[in-house]
Structure formats: C-alpha cells, structure tokens
C-alpha cells in the first residue's frame, strides 16, 4: 500500500484503524514535512468512517500543493473513498503550481491508467508548455506536440457529449495549431492532421494534404480517409478517377473501392465507362458483385441475371451466402435461379445415390438451403424442411470420412438448420426436445470435432438441461483465453454461481480483467504514444474503456459475490468485491451519458452475441432465441444494475448516500426490465418488502420438479443464497430496519430454513429420482429416433442414443453432487 512504512500497511490491512491513526500521528510528528503521512492520516480516517474529517484533512493537504506523486495518488484514493469530488483535479491543481515535466508526465500516466481522456488532453497540453522550458530536444518537442494534437482529436471523437459547444469547435483548431509548424512525415502523423482538419470542417485542405501524401506513399488508412473525404465532399469526378486508378492501375481489387467507383460513376454520369471497366476486369468475387451493385443505379442491369451468374460461379464456395445476402433480401423469390443451378449441378443424381458427393456438392447444397431459408423463413415451420436437411446431410456425410485433421465438414449447417427448425416447430423448449437436439448435435460433432458452432449450441443446450459439467468441458475444448474471456465466456458463466460451486472460470476471468488488462493495456497506450502510432491511439483508448467498463467484468463480480456468500467467504465480499461494485455504481452515476457511438461514460457490452447465430441463415431467429431464453435468460443491463444494487444494500450500509441505493433498487425492480428468473424475482422481492416496510413476505414460488432443468439447481442455490443474504443483514444491520423489518426477515428465513431442510432430506433421493426420469426419457427418445418419420431421418443408432444417455446420466450425477454441497 505504501512505500514508506510496511508496519502501517499491515495495521491498516488488519483494519485496526485506531492503532493505525496513532502510528500515523507519531509519524507526522517525526516527519512534519513529509506530505505522504498527512495523506495517510486522511486515508485512515476515511477507512474508519470519519468521512468529513478525512475530507477536511485531504483538502488541507491539497491546499498546500504536495508534489510527491505517491501522496497525490493516495489523496485521489481518499477522495474516492469519501465519495467526494474536489473542486479541481488533484494532479491538475498541483501541476499548475509546479509545472515540471516529470510531474505532468505522472499526471498523463495517471490519466491513461484511469482512461480519463479529458485528463490526457489537459496533461499533454501542459506538457507542451513545460517541454520548451525543460531543455528537451526538438524531436521531443515535436513528439509532445503531436501527443497534444492527438489528444484534442481524442477528446472530440470519444467524449464529444462531455464538451461544451465552444470546446467542440475550438479543440480541433487548437490541435492544428499545435502541429502547424511541424514537418509531418509519417502516415500516423498525417492521420492526426487529417482528423483535426475534418473536425474543423476544413475539407478542401484535408483532401489536398491526403492526396499529396498518397502520391508519395500508398497508406491504407489514409487512402480510406481520402476516399471517404471525397465522397463526403461530393467530389464525384475526382472520386471516380481515383478509385479507377486504384482498381485498374494499381490492381487493388477492393470491394469498398468498387462501391465508391460505381457510386461516383452514377453521380458523375460515367456509368457506361464504369460498366466497361467492370466487364473487362478479371473475374473475381468483387468484380462479379460489382455487376450486382450496378443494379442499384440503373434498371438496365437485371439483378436476377447477375444473381444467377454469381451463384453459377461461386455456388460451391461458402462465401456465397454471406456475399449474396447483401443483395438478396428476405422475401425475394430466387427459387427458379436456385432450382436451375440445382439441376445444372446434377444434384438429383447425387440424392438418388447414383453418384458420389463432392466437396463442391455439399457446399452448393448448404448454400442452396441457406438461401432458400433466408428468403423464405416460413420454411423453418415446415416438417418437410427438416426432412430435406436430413436428406442432404445423409447424402453428403460420406465426405466426413475424408476430412483431414482440423478441417470442417460444411454439412454441419444442415444440422444447425434442423435444430433451429425443430425448436421453431415445438410449442416450448422442454427437456425431451433438448435431449433429442443434444443427441443429434453430439452425433454430428463426433466426426466434425473442431466445428465451434456445434459446440456453442451444445454448450447452450447442456446448460438448459442443468448439466454444467458437460457445458464446461465443451467450453474448455474451445481453448478460450485472453480477450475471449470477455466476449464469449457468458454461455457458461451466466448464472453459473447458481448451479455449481466451481469458481475456477470466474477466477480466470477476474484475473484477466484485474491483472492482464489493468497492467498491460495502459502500458501499451503509453507505448502507442511513444511509438507515435497515433492512428491507433483512439482504438487503444476505446479498447481500454470497453474492457474497464465491460458488462462481463461486472457480471463476473456479481457471480463471484454469490459464490463467496455460499461458501461464507465474507472477507472476499467486503475487501474485494464490494469496493468494486461500489465503483461500478458510482461509475454509471457519474457517467454523463454518451452517444451510441461513444464508448466513454457507459457500461460496454462486449459479449459476442452473433457468433452463435453466425451459421444457418446467419441471423438471430427471434422465436428460437425467445425459447432458448426461456431457461436461464441472458443477463441484461437492468439485471446487472439491479443485482449490483442488491449487493450494495446488503454490504454497503455505511455508504453516505445509502438511501439512493434503496430508491433506485425499487425503481428498477418495479420497471420489470431485468431478465430475472421467477425465483430471482422472488428473492429480490424480500429486499423490496424490507425497504418498503412491509411485514408479510411473498409466497416462495413452487420448486421445480425435474432435475434435468437448469431451474432445478438454480432454484435451490438461489434459495440458500437468499437465506444467507438475510442472515447477513440480520447479523450486521438488522436493527437499522426496525422491528417490522427484523420480523419480516426472520419470517422469510424461517420459511427458507424449512424448505432447505426438507430439500436436504430429499436430496438423498435425487439420484434415484433422476435415474427414473432419465430411463423414461430414454424410452421415448429411442422410440422417436426409430419410429418417428422425422426422428428416423437422422439415422441415429441405438448405440449412439445409449452413449449420449450414459454421458447425460454421468453429468447429471455431478449436478447432484453440486446440489448436495449447498
């Protein structure tokens, strides 16, 4: 905690604040000119709850302008502890008094560490003033000026909503002023200049400078800025000639360039010339799609003909569907085109078994079916669609035996479409259906073992079936790490604390955010500045902000809180988790709000919710999604806020604005936006009633009866967790809720205790009961795969069914073991 005295650190860590204060007082007497101990005194006061005294001490010290960096950082911590905002930023205030290069550099580092863009802007601006007087070289002066210019750009691009209109106007000009006499030689330097010119509305000058640079160096980033600038300025003649130059003379076959080429041709009356360019160009995906793009500008160019042309040329490539789905819309009728190609490729012979499948066949059939389903989504409701998917899969699956290691079999998409269709056609996602889907998917994965969409669907379905160990093993096989922990860990962490006591994944995620992100990213932003990779700076800062304010990061803390409560790990909550949650609460309160494009000032949901759907027709099917979400619904932002407030109401009783927690909690609970399960809603209702001073608790929802459903474990884990919350409140701040509050809590607790006792007694029978249910399912599922017209089309053998049930039974037992731990 401090570099000055480990003894004081230890005393503070042991929470013996009286003793700590006395030791600090002695230190102040011993070293009256050392500012650090005064800051430490304020910190000890803040930690011991003497908020006003702590603020006074901190303000007194700040008024004396301490220049020691450790002291300043400690002062900032004190203000945060006290939930107090000083009139002026600590570093800013002191740096004004002592504008030394070193101190301002520390200010900049601090701003970077805390993703404070406006702080970065002020610090870099101050550096430009101090750099001249500190004897720095011309090269260093240039670097600092470029930093300041880039920081003006950052402020305008990333937190415009926080700037006053005059600042929005002034900052780009100040940025340009910074670099006006500098010789800008590299692409990143010219990038900053270009962005500032754009922000200043100096489009002509911007285009001129970009054009001149591109004559000397073909920089990709600047080329894109130039093209966009020409389009924005409606300089279509220049845009046409320039894009033509890149496409033809430089042979840069780039789709965005083609689009701008055709757009500018249309606006400048050069479509005829453009068509001759397209038609004489080498046959590539882009040039063939350019023909389709033409149909946007003139009816003379028949879209259907070019769609047919594209399918004919690229029907056997997997990119066909994503490429065409830009031009072909849901509801378009392309059946005839598809059927002609179907015949041309001799598919009927393949399906009749008179010829063997090729890789081109399977990819064409995948594209054929995807395009059909995409243009007519009612197909998902048709049982014949499932039969067709199965027929295509069975006709092409001999190719599975020819796969080399790590290669995919594209026919897996027939199965994904089938799964989606089966869910669409079912009235609800019940356990029997989930088991059938799992068996189908497992069978598909067996010979296509690296296909990750299949795994993602299985992970989701196993979770619905309350088989965390299966989801977890599949997840581990994906070798998820680093940033993927932020984007795609949610399929196994969403409410994982209510089905298992295993927190290893939660701890791994926590480590990623609190160690890797915290240590690596600010350092890399500094490297970005020092390397003058200023065209990457905004991306770096936004990257840091999105990680620091990540939805996954917060939900992970909430899950860890639940897990810690279940294991009575009170110190983990008090020392580690509660301060983090309070920080989040303060963050979304102090956040000034931002535009949709800005990542600054809001919680950023980085979860990858698209890869799961990036197969089949590459679109989320709302009906399927709703059914999947009926069990263990994905957390949403309201859920997150509600749960953060719940934890703070339980654990942060000394917060100065504690009443705000209660008020906001009630508002959010009553708005019903949160993606809560019924038992969670009931659990939260206990807190609501406590706050409202009600005396009679709501009836606990009936317990689920089927262990093979996520809600079973979730229900009992939540019940036990709620009881622990109540016990905590009663033991630590029950009296503050008055007699009626205590009475309410005790009556809920008594109810819960009875329920838990009864569950623990019955849990001994869980294994027998679930075996009974499983054997019933097995009979029904086996029968379906043999005798049902649809079920039998999957050609799943009895052995495969048995293997899947053995695996489910094993995982089910592991879930029972977890339940017995609570």
């Amino acid at each position: 905690m401090t570099k000055y005295d480990k003894l004081i650190d230890d005393i503070i860590a042991s929470k013996n604040f009286t003793h700590a204060l006395s030791v600090v007082t002695d230190k102040i007497k011993q070293y009256p000119n050392t500012s650090y101990f005064y800051a430490l005194e304020a910190q000890v006061l803040a930690l011991s709850g003497e908020i006003n005294k702590a603020i006074d001490k901190a303000n007194d010290l700040l008024a004396r302008f301490p220049s020691d960096v450790t002291t300043l950082k400690l002062l900032i911590d004190v203000y945060e502890l006290c939930d107090y905002t000083p009139k002026e930023d600590v570093f800013e205030k002191v740096s004004k008094k002592y504008p030394t290069f070193q101190l301002i550099q520390e200010w900049l580092d601090h701003a970077i560490q805390n993703f404070d863009i406006l702080g970065m802007q002020k610090a870099t601006m101050s550096l430009t003033k101090s750099v001249s007087s500190s004897g720095q070289s011309d090269e260093n002066i240039k670097i600092i000026k470029l930093w300041a210019a880039a920081s003006f750009m950052l402020a305008c691009n990333c937190c415009k909503s926080q700037l006053k209109p005059i600042q929005v106007k002034l900052y780009p000009q100040l940025g340009l002023k910074m670099i006006e006499h500098l010789s800008l030689s590299s692409a990143p330097e010219v990038y900053v200049q270009s962005k500032l010119l754009e922000l200043s509305g100096k489009d002509e000058e911007n285009l001129e400078k970009l054009g001149n640079f591109l004559k000397k160096e073909n920089d990709l980033e600047l080329k894109i800025l130039y093209f966009n600038g020409l389009e924005k300025a409606k300089k279509y003649d220049v845009l046409y000639e320039t894009t033509k130059h890149y496409l033809v003379d430089m042979n840069e076959d780039d789709w965005d360039t083609w689009k701008l080429f055709l757009e500018s041709a249309s606006h400048s009356g050069k479509l005829e010339d453009a068509i001759s360019v397209v038609k004489s160009y080498a046959v590539t995906r882009n040039s063939q799609l350019a023909l389709l793009e033409l149909s946007k500008y003139s009816e003379e160019y028949p879209k259907d003909e070019y769609v047919a042309n594209y399918i004919s040329k690229y029907g056997h490539k997997l990119c066909l569907f994503p490429d065409l789905s830009i031009f072909v819309k849901s509801g378009d009728d392309i059946t005839k085109i598809l059927e002609v190609e179907y015949e041309t490729r001799d598919i009927p012979k393949l399906l009749s078994g008179t010829r063997k499948p090729t890789e081109a066949d399977v990819i064409f059939l995948v594209n054929y079916l995807k395009l059909k389903a995409y243009t007519d989504q009612s197909l998902f409701k048709s049982p014949e669609f499932i039969t067709t998917c199965c027929t295509f899969y069975n006709a092409t699956k001999p190719l599975l035996n020819k796969l080399v290691e790590f290669e995919y079999f594209p026919g897996f998409e027939f199965i994904i479409l089938t799964i989606q269709s089966m869910i669409t056609q079912a009235p609800a996602l019940d356990e029997l259906l989930i088991i059938k889907l799992i068996i189908i998917l497992e069978n598909t994965l067996e010979k296509n073992k690296f296909e990750f969409h299949l795994k993602l669907w299985l992970i989701s379905l196993y979770s619905k079936l309350n088989l965390f160990s299966k989801s977890s093993a599949l997840f581990d096989s994906l070798k998820i790490k680093s940033i993927q922990l932020d984007t795609i860990s949610y399929p196994i962490t969403n409410r994982s604390s209510t089905v298992t006591s295993n927190v290893s994944k939660l701890e791994e995620i926590s480590k990623f955010f609190n160690f890797n992100v915290k240590n690596e990213v600010p350092q890399m932003i500094q490297n970005c500045l020092h390397s003058l990779a200023l065209n990457k700076l905004q991306g770096f800062v936004e990257f840091q902000i999105r990680l620091e304010t990540s939805f996954t990061k917060i939900s992970n803390v909430l899950e860890l809180c639940n897990a810690a409560r279940l294991t009575n790990h009170k110190t983990a909550i008090d020392d580690r988790l509660k301060p983090t949650l309070r920080k989040y609460y303060k963050f979304w309160h102090s956040a000034p709000g931002s535009t949709d494009e800005e990542v600054y000032g809001k919680i950023n949901d980085n979860r990858d919710l698209t890869t799961f759907w990036d197969c089949g027709i590459h679109t989320k099917l709302e009906d399927v999604d709703a059914k999947l979400n009926s069990i263990n619904p994905l957390f949403n932002l309201s859920y997150l806020k509600l749960m953060v407030l719940r934890e703070l109401i339980i654990y942060d009783i000394h917060y100065p604005n504690y009443e705000d927690y209660k008020k906001e909690f009630i508002e959010l609970y009553e708005s019903s936006d949160a993606s809560l399960t019924s038992i969670e809603r009931w659990s939260l209702s206990a807190i609501v009633q406590l706050i409202k001073g009600e005396t009679k608790a709501d009836q606990i929802p009936e317990a689920p009866s089927n262990l093979l459903n996520f809600n079973f474990s979730h229900y009992y884990f939540t019940v036990v967790n709620t009881n622990k919350q109540i016990q905590y409140i009663l033991s630590n701040h029950g009296a503050t809720w008055g007699i009626s509050g205590v009475k309410l809590l005790k009556s809920i607790s008594a109810q819960l205790n009875r329920l838990i006792k009864s569950f623990r007694e019955e849990s001994l029978e869980l294994n027998v009961a679930s075996k009974h249910i499983l054997s019933e399912y097995k009979v029904k599922v086996s029968d379906w795969f043999v005798n049902d017209p649809i079920g039998s089309s999957f050609k799943i053998t009895a052995k495969q069914v048995n293997t899947s049930f053995d695996s489910i039974e094993d995982a089910n037992y592991k879930s029972i073991v977890e339940l017995r731990k609570i």
């Binding site: 590299s186 692409a187 990143p188 000397k216 160096e217 073909n218 920089d219 990709l220 980033e221 894109i224 780039d254 789709w255 965005d256 083609w258 995906r285 882009n286 799609l289 690229y314 490539k317 997997l318 990119c319 569907f321 994503p322 490429d323 830009i326 790590f406 995919y408 690296f450 990750f452 994906l478 070798k479 790490k481 680093s482 940033i483 993927q484 932020d486 984007t487 795609i488 890797n516 992100v517 690596e520 990213v521 350092q523 890399m524 490297n527 970005c528 390397s531 990779a533 065209n535 990457k536 905004q538 991306g539 770096f540 936004e542 990257f543 999105r546 980085n606 990858d608 890869t611 990036d614």
Partner: protein, 189 residues
C-alpha cells in the same frame, strides 16, 4: 466481397469467428497491441460487406542491411471465406506495403510454416515463396530436444522466403533450402 482495412485494437472484440478455429492462435492482448504500436500499417484485416472481419494479417519488419525484411507472424481466415484466395490476397497486400521505398523498402518477405502443412506450403509456393531453410524443432515442446539427425515434420518449420524488388540479385533465397538445417536459436535478426 472483400475489402482490406487497417486493424484497430477494438477489432479484437470481433475476432471470434476466426480465432475459435483450432488452428488459429489466440494471443495475449499485449502481443496484438505491440504489432499495432510498432508496425501499425502491417496489421490489417479483410472484411465482408457487412463490415465483419473475415481474416487478418499480422506482420512486422525486422533485420539489418540485406536481412531487412517483412515477416508474416500470422495470416488467418474465417472458415466461411476459405478457398477463395483470401490468404493469398492478404499476402500480396503485404508485399505491396513493404516493397516500395516508403515506408519499408524490404528485401524479402518471410514466414514459418510447419513442414507437414502441405496445403499452406503449396499456397506459398504458388505465391512465389521458396524454402530457405528448415528450422529443426521450431514448433516442438519445451522439453523436446531438437536433433538434425531426427527430422519431425510436425515439429520442424520451413522458413519460406519471397524476394522483393530491392533484392535485385535474389540473395535472400537459395536452392536446396529444404536441406539447410538450423536450430531455432540460429534464427535471429
């Protein structure tokens, strides 16, 4: 359709369709960010018309005097966009960025590939690369001791090179590169 665009750090949130592939290495954050700070124009992506990432190239420059070259650290493609020449396209783009006098003016491009990855080796040969040397044990585990007497295709790498215009005398390539055996520690610039 495909466009080439520069990578920004925030693109790392969007790489799952590529990085969930078992053959694509998922590096730590600092690794990607270092490429962005040190070689900002050599980390770029191919995108679909929906602006999703369909592949990316992660490259750098290194070496001194005649060894000054660009190195392909990773080039990888979304499974939906394979076998349409996208990897070749990204490789050719690298040549066009590092061959001219400004800003890099490299003598050659090189890369490492497992000796048993015949598909990739064929692709690179079609693009004009040839084997310069075989790095014995390059992909071996930390406890494997490489030996020039025991060549293992799954653990050894071919260092493949393609000369650029600046290498007028083609000194960066040689005949019989497959028979030139070196250890990983011999490979440095």
């Amino acid at each position: 359709m495909t466009s080439i665009k520069p990578v920004q750090a925030t693109d790392l949130f969007e790489t799952n369709p590529i990085n969930l592939d078992p053959l694509t290495e998922n590096f730590y954050i600092y690794f990607y960010l270092q490429y962005l700070t040190d070689w900002p124009s050599l980390f770029y992506k191919s995108t679909s018309a929906r602006n999703t990432i369909t592949g990316y190239m992660l490259a750098k420059t290194e070496g001194k005097s005649r060894d000054w070259h660009s190195h392909i650290s990773a080039v990888t493609i979304d499974p939906n966009y394979r076998r349409i020449g996208l990897a070749s396209w990204l490789c050719k783009a690298l040549e066009s960025y590092t061959e001219p006098e400004k800003p890099y003016h490299a003598y050659f491009v090189d890369l490492f590939v497992k000796c048993n990855n015949k598909t990739a080796i064929t692709l690179y040969e079609k693009l004009g690369y040839s084997v310069f040397r075989r790095v014995v044990g390059y992909y071996g585990g930390p406890n494997d001791i490489p030996s020039k007497k025991k060549l293992i295709d799954n653990e050894d790498a071919f260092d493949m090179r393609k000369p650029l215009k600046r290498d007028v005398k083609r000194k960066s390539v040689r005949e019989n590169g497959r028979k030139q055996l070196v250890f990983p520690e011999d490979v440095y610039f």
